[in-house]
């Protein structure tokens, strides 16, 4: 070992010390001969980055992304600032993500009074009102039911409200359209618990209430509760993240995210909707005449190009893949078209995941960029035949003050210098 002290290693001193320690350890196991071979290989000038010449990091109990991926972060919006730092939204950085599943740590968040720190042993779900047998369920009890797993998107009905600003914001796509994400959810169909409690025929709505400090609450039609509503306990294979409703949330596939009440503590069967604050003063869609649509639950058919997108720059002319995400609260995506000339002509994109209803679909379209100005758009059609509306057509339906359910076509311009900008077309 002494002979190695003087070698011309390119490694910094700290690493060398560690290497020496490790090679000494290796020598104990394999004998000095193998250490001699490794030292000789380095001396011959074989290729190998510094990290190929040191022993790697040890095991961790919970893995983290590479330190070089640190810039991949959610886009945080806090309308009340430090007054209420957990009130607002944190949007998924869709411009940096691929595939259709959003990593749990990058899933969009919309919270009204921060994230509660819930002890699952103390939490319970109460089911009462118009039922034969009012019941409460511990998290342990809920976890003992046969489980159902599905992939569903979740979108805040305020997603893309930033695309309604007077001037197009020059921010990444996720900061505009990322109040939306897609996960694999596992839990118990709500129908199972309603059958156990004996839902009475006169029950038409369920008041769902969270255990956050806002006690966020919404009225849910019984039809949805009996169809595909899920009492979710797991997200992407692990227990729900606190920000996503740990230990138990409601999951209403395809419907506005606000209704998928997180930290679910109570369900009350009622004859009429309760008209909570978040289904009257908020999440209602003001129309031009001053009246508002209420109980607009389903999220409309929608798509957005994630790459290339706003704030990116194309380094050279040539071949690019235009890719993005499409989804519909009504069911499956049937078609996504891409335009590279501001909607003058459209071409079909290739789809991944289109067999799943109410889940994100990835679309891809090969594009030869000549180096001239272009406007990129995508337009989705769902299995019900609904087509994503143009921006002007969408705007005409609502008051300028409406901020919900914007599913209109998004446009990115590409300049001759390759810079990609958010534009209104």
């Amino acid at each position: 070992m002494k002979s190695r002290k003087g070698d011309a290693s390119p490694m910094p001193q700290a690493s060398r010390g560690r290497r020496d320690f490790l090679t000494q350890g290796a020598a104990l196991v394999t004998g000095a001969a193998s250490v001699g071979i490794a030292a000789g290989a380095s001396a011959q000038g074989l290729a190998g980055q510094p990290w190929e010449r040191v022993y790697g990091a040890g095991f961790t109990g919970y893995g983290q992304p590479s330190r070089f991926e640190q810039p991949v972060m959610r886009h945080i919006g806090r309308p009340y600032g430090d007054l209420a730092p957990g009130t607002g939204a944190s949007l998924a950085p869709i411009e940096t993500l691929e595939g259709i599943i959003t990593p749990s740590g990058l899933h969009n968040i919309r919270s009204h009074s921060g994230t509660p720190d819930i002890d699952p042993k103390e939490h319970q779900l109460l089911l009462h009102g118009l039922v034969a047998r009012p019941l409460k369920f511990s998290v342990e009890a809920l976890s003992s039911y046969p489980m159902t797993t599905r992939i569903y998107f979740l979108e805040c009905s305020g997603n893309s409200n930033r695309a309604l600003a007077p001037q197009p914001a020059q921010v990444p796509a996720g900061a505009i359209h990322g109040n939306m994400a897609c996960s694999e959810w596992t839990g118990v169909p709500l129908r199972v618990l309603l059958q156990e409690a004996g839902l009475r025929p006169e029950a038409k709505w369920l008041l769902a209430e969270g255990a956050d400090s806002a006690h966020m609450s919404r009225s849910i039609p019984v039809e949805k509760a009996l169809d595909d509503a899920l009492i979710a306990l797991y997200q992407n294979g692990e227990r729900l993240r606190p920000e996503q409703g740990y230990p138990v949330r409601l999951l209403l596939p395809g419907w506005e995210g606000n209704m998928s009440v997180k930290w679910l503590r109570r369900l009350k069967a009622t004859e009429e909707p309760t008209h909570t604050k978040d289904e009257t003063s908020k999440y209602t869609d003001l129309q031009p005449g001053g009246r508002a649509l209420q109980f607009t639950f389903e999220m409309g058919v929608k798509s957005v190009i994630t790459k290339p997108s706003s704030t990116m720059k194309l380094p050279r002319s040539g071949t690019y893949e235009i890719t993005g995400l499409a989804w519909s609260g009504a069911g499956r995506i049937r078609r996504v078209e891409v335009s590279t000339n501001g909607g003058a002509t459209w071409n079909d994109a290739a789809l991944t995941g289109e067999e799943r209803p109410k889940a994100l679909v990835r679309f891809r379209f090969p594009w030869e960029w000549s180096g001239k100005e272009a406007v990129l758009q995508s337009r989705a059609t769902d299995e019900k035949g609904q087509v994503q509306p143009a921006r002007k057509a969408w705007l005409a339906q609502y008051s300028p003050g409406n901020i919900y359910h914007n599913n209109s076509i998004a446009s990115w311009s590409v300049g001759a210098d390759g810079s990609v900008k958010n534009v209104y077309v």
Binding site: P146, R191, T274
Partner: protein
């Protein structure tokens, strides 16, 4: 076959049919039925939702004058002098603005039911200490906010009987989209 047995079979078939037509089928097998009975007293401690009928409103009452004191102590710092807003949402104003290009949505101009004001204040406010107000304080501060909007008089008293009867200016301003409109 005994009637009870027949009924049990009919119920089982009904449940199976329900599950069969649902777009999220249940996992195979009989669910374990692990819910436990819950007493009326326990339900009452959790059941804080108040519908427009006022069902479930607690005993107690509050006046506009009492509400002004509660407001000054617990609401003003966020919602501003006389509900003018800033840093948090304005509670007053905007009546008549909904059809204009710049609609202002407040309790006065937009909220269709006064019961929602009681419900939300009790469950979520003040934001740093929810569930801390007494029912009397919630009635009182609700009265004060309704008074600031010109909806009730200065001498009005809010309680389980009077609050649901308050006619909000935008009571008829909503069109229900459920069940969904036909395309």
């Amino acid at each position: 076959m005994f009637t009870s047995e027949r009924n049990a079979i009919v119920i089982a078939i009904g449940a199976a049919a329900l599950a069969a037509c649902a777009s999220l089928p249940s996992a195979p097998g009989k669910p374990p039925a692990l819910g436990t009975a819950v007493s009326a007293e326990e339900i009452a401690r959790f059941d804080i939702s108040i519908p427009p009928s006022g069902a479930g409103l607690p005993a107690g009452s509050g006046t506009v004058k009492q509400g002004a004191q509660v407001y000054a102590a617990k609401c003003l710092a966020c919602h501003g002098e006389k509900g003018a807003g800033k840093p948090a949402d304005a509670l007053v104003g905007g009546i008549g603005s909904l059809a204009t290009p710049k609609p202002v949505r407040t309790v006065g101009s937009y909220w269709p039911y006064a019961t929602t004001l009681f419900d939300y204040t009790r469950r979520a406010m003040p934001i740093t200490n929810p569930l801390s107000l007494t029912d009397d304080e919630v009635y009182a501060v609700s009265a004060y906010v309704l008074f600031l909007n010109g909806i009730i008089g200065e001498d009005a008293v809010m309680n389980a009987q009077t609050l649901p009867r308050v006619k909000m200016p935008n009571r008829d301003g909503f069109i229900s989209d459920w069940p969904p409109r036909k395309l």
